[in-house]
C-alpha cells in the first residue's frame, strides 16, 4: 500500500487527492502559513505545515517536504506541476530518502530541462526542431558571435532562456539592431528566474499553432502517445484555453506528430507522464519545441477525449505496472474537449491579480462539464502564488457542441467577492474566429490589443438598470425588520472586513 505526499497546493493537489481516494490510497498534504484553511489541506488524510507563505520558504523547500514525508510515513511523492515538479534535485532527494517519485527519473528531468539538450535529443531521434543555435550561449559568448549566429538563423527570431519556461527570459527580436538589448534583458530575467543566464536563439515562425502530445511511458519499455492538444490561445506566452483534438490536425498528421513525440521519449528512456510541445506552421510542418517532464495543467482535456485517468496511470506506472492502453484507441479522439483556466484576475484591469475572500462559490455542473477546482467559499485567495482557482472543462460530441457547452457552463459558474477571468472567457467563446477555430499563438494578443481596454463585462442599459434595482432591493431587504437574520450576518461580515483593513 502506497501513502502519497502531494508536494503542491491548489487545484492540482485536489486533483491528485481525488485520484488517490479513488484508488484507495491515503494522502498527505503540505501547506504554508496562508494555506492552513486551503481546500487541499481539508481534503487530504494528513497534512503538515512546511513553512511561511513565500513559496521559496515552503513549497520550494526540498528538505521541509522530504521531512514531512518522513514524519507522515509516506512512501511516495507526487509533485504536481510547477514548484518542484521539474527539479531533478528534488527527484533525487526523494529517491535518496527512499520515497517513490511519481514522475520521470531525475536524469530525464535534468536532460529535458535543458532546452538545448532537449533539442539535441529531438534531432538525434530524427525530429525537426525550429532552426536555432545548438549550444547554450552563456555569458562568455561575445555579442558579435551571437550576432553572426543570428544572421544564419534569420530574423525575426526569439531569444530564449536555456533553463526557461512560462515565457520568462524570452524576447522577440525583429532585426539586428535590437539584438544586443534583447539578449541583455533576457539574460537578466533568466538569471533571476532560473539562476542560469544562458540563452539560445530560435527562429520565430509566423503565426504558428501550439500543438502538444501527451504521452505515458512505463518501466517496461512501452510509450503511448495520445491525441494532440492545441494550446494556441495564449496571452503573453501563457496558455489560457486548451482543447483536444486540434482543428488543424488531420488523422494522418496526428500519426506523424505522435510518432515523433514517442520517438523522442523512447530515445531518452522516458517514464511516467510527459508532454512534448511542437509548433505547427501554416504548411503543416511541425517542429519540436520542448518537453515538459510532468503532468500538465491542461491534462484534463486529454482525459476527456481518451476516457483515461492520467493521474491513476502515473501512480500505477510508479508502482511498476505495465501500460495496458491500446495505442490505436489512444490516438482516436472521442468527441472534443475545451479547458478554460479560471484565474483570480480582473480582465478589465489588464488581468491584474484580484486576490481576496471568496464569499460564494458555485461551480458549473451538468452534462459534459468538469470542474477541477482548488478553492472553496470562505477561503482567501493569497497573493503569494499563481492565481488560478479552477479549471473548467467542457466536453462535446463535436467542437461546436463543446464551445456552446463551455459558454453555458461559464454563465453558470458563480464566484463571489473577487474578480475572475470568467467574463473574458464568455467573450472569447463568442468571437467568430475562436468559434471557427481560426487562430494561432498570436491571435489572442492581437485581439486584446484591438479592444483598447473595453470591459469584458459590458452590460446593456437594461442590464445596468437591473443591477441597480437589485442593489437597491438588496439594501431595502437588509434594512427591514423581517430580514433581521441576513442583515445581522451582513453586518458581521462588514465588521470583519473593517477589521481586516
Amino acid at each position: 500500500m502506497m501513502k502519497i505526499l502531494i508536494a503542491n497546493r491548489g487545484e492540482i493537489a485536489v486533483r491528485i487527492i481525488r485520484a488517490c481516494r479513488e484508488m484507495g490510497l491515503p494522502t498527505v498534504a503540505v501547506f504554508s502559513d496562508c494555506d492552513r484553511d486551503a481546500r487541499h489541506v481539508r481534503e487530504a488524510d494528513q497534512a503538515f505545515h512546511i513553512g511561511p507563505s513565500e513559496a521559496v520558504k515552503s513549497y520550494l523547500r526540498i528538505d521541509a517536504i522530504v521531512d514531512a514525508a518522513r514524519r507522515a510515513g509516506a512512501d511516495a511523492v507526487h509533485p504536481g506541476y510547477g514548484f518542484l515538479a521539474e527539479n531533478a534535485a528534488f527527484a533525487r532527494a526523494c529517491a535518496d530518502a527512499g520515497l517513490t517519485f511519481i514522475g520521470p527519473s531525475a536524469d530525464a528531468i535534468a536532460l529535458m530541462g535543458s532546452k538545448t539538450a532537449a533539442r539535441a535529443a529531438a534531432v538525434s531521434a530524427g525530429v525537426s526542431v525550429v532552426p536555432g543555435t545548438e549550444r547554450p550561449l552563456d555569458a562568455t559568448v561575445s555579442d558579435e558571435a551571437i550576432a553572426t549566429a543570428a544572421d544564419e538563423i534569420g530574423y525575426p527570431l526569439l531569444v530564449k532562456a536555456v533553463a526557461g519556461g512560462g515565457g520568462k527570459g524570452m524576447r522577440t527580436v525583429e532585426d539586428r539592431g535590437s539584438l544586443s538589448s534583447a539578449i541583455r534583458s533576457a539574460r537578466s530575467e533568466a538569471g533571476s528566474a532560473f539562476g542560469d543566464s544562458a540563452i539560445y536563439l530560435e527562429r520565430r515562425l509566423t503565426r504558428p499553432r501550439h500543438i502538444e502530445i501527451q504521452l505515458l511511458g512505463d518501466h517496461h519499455g512501452t510509450v503511448v502517445p495520445f491525441v494532440e492538444r492545441e494550446c494556441s490561445i495564449q496571452r503573453r506566452h501563457q496558455k489560457v484555453v486548451e482543447e483536444s483534438p486540434s482543428i488543424a490536425v488531420s488523422p494522418e498528421l496526428r500519426r506523424r506528430i505522435a510518432g515523433a513525440a514517442a520517438a523522442v521519449a523512447r530515445s531518452v528512456g522516458y517514464t511516467n507522464a510527459g508532454t512534448i510541445e511542437f509548433l505547427l506552421d501554416e504548411n503543416g510542418s511541425f517542429y519540436f519545441l520542448e518537453m515538459n517532464t510532468r503532468l500538465q495543467v491542461e491534462h484534463p482535456v486529454t482525459e476527456m477525449v481518451s476516457r483515461e485517468d492520467l493521474v491513476h496511470w502515473q501512480i500505477r506506472i510508479a508502482r511498476g505496472e505495465k501500460l495496458t492502453i491500446d495505442p490505436e484507441t489512444a490516438l482516436t479522439p472521442q468527441g472534443h474537449a475545451i479547458e478554460c483556466r479560471i484565474y483570480a484576475e480582473d480582465p478589465d484591469q489588464g488581468f491584474m491579480p484580484s486576490p481576496g475572500l471568496i464569499r460564494g462559490l458555485r461551480p458549473a455542473a451538468g452534462p459534459g462539464v468538469r470542474d477541477d477546482g482548488g478553492v472553496t467559499a470562505g477561503y482567501t485567495v493569497p497573493v503569494f502564488y499563481d492565481s488560478m482557482i479552477a479549471k473548467l472543462v467542457a466536453w462535446g460530441a463535436t467542437r461546436d457542441e463543446a464551445v456552446r457547452r463551455m459558454s453555458r457552463a461559464l454563465r453558470e459558474y458563480e464566484v463571489l467577492g473577487i474578480k475572475t477571468t470568467i467574463p473574458f472567457f464568455l467573450w472569447l467563446m463568442r468571437q467568430p474566429d475562436y468559434a471557427e477555430g481560426r487562430y494561432d499563438t498570436t491571435y489572442l494578443d492581437r485581439l486584446l490589443a484591438a479592444r483598447n481596454g473595453q470591459s469584458f463585462s459590458e452590460l446593456t442599459d437594461d442590464e445596468e438598470d437591473l443591477a441597480a434595482m437589485a442593489v437597491a432591493l438588496d439594501a431595502f431587504l437588509r434594512s427591514g425588520p423581517a430580514d433581521r437574520g441576513p442583515a445581522t450576518a451582513w453586518k458581521a461580515a462588514a465588521r470583519r472586513d473593517a477589521l481586516r483593513e
Binding site: 486576490p355 437591473l466 431595502f476
Partner: protein
Amino acid sequence: MTFDVEINGRVRTVSVERAAQGGYRVTIDGRPHAVDAARVGTLGLSLLLDRAGISRDVQIAPAGRNGELLIRIDGRTIAATLNGNRSGRGAADAGGHAHGEQSVVAPMPGRVVRVLVERGETVAARQGIVVVEAMKMENELRAPRAGRVKDVVVGAGDPVEAGRVLVVIE
C-alpha cells in the same frame, strides 16, 4: 426608500416600496417596475420582473474594500457603489462602512508610484488617492468615500505589502 446606485460612473436613483398586492414596486429614474424578489442564501436575489415574469438571478457581494459591491449577472461581474442613503439605514449597512475613519490599503504587494493627495485635503468619493504599481501594472486606488485626508502614510517609491494602509481618510 430611495437609493443612489452608481454603476460605470452613472448614478441611478432607485426607489423601493412594498406593493399592496405583494412584491415590490421599484422605480428607476422615474420608470416603475413590479418586481417579485426572493433572497437566495446570503448574497443572492432571484427577481421576477413585471407581468412577463422575466427571471433574472443576481448576486451582490461586498468586495472587501472601499464599500464596493460586485454584482454578478449571467457570468459577468460589474462593480457598483451604494452611496446615497436618503431615507433608509440599509444603504449604510450594505456599503459596509459609512462613518468614522477609512483607509486606502494596498490590494497586493507593489510599489507606490504617486500619491495624489496631501494631508488635510478634502476628497470626493471615488477620487484617485494613490497610484500603486504591482505586477508591472499601475493601479489607481480611490477614496472609499468623501472626507478629509487625515494621514498620508507612504510616499512615492515606497515598497508596500498587501493590506498596508497607505492613506487614512476621515
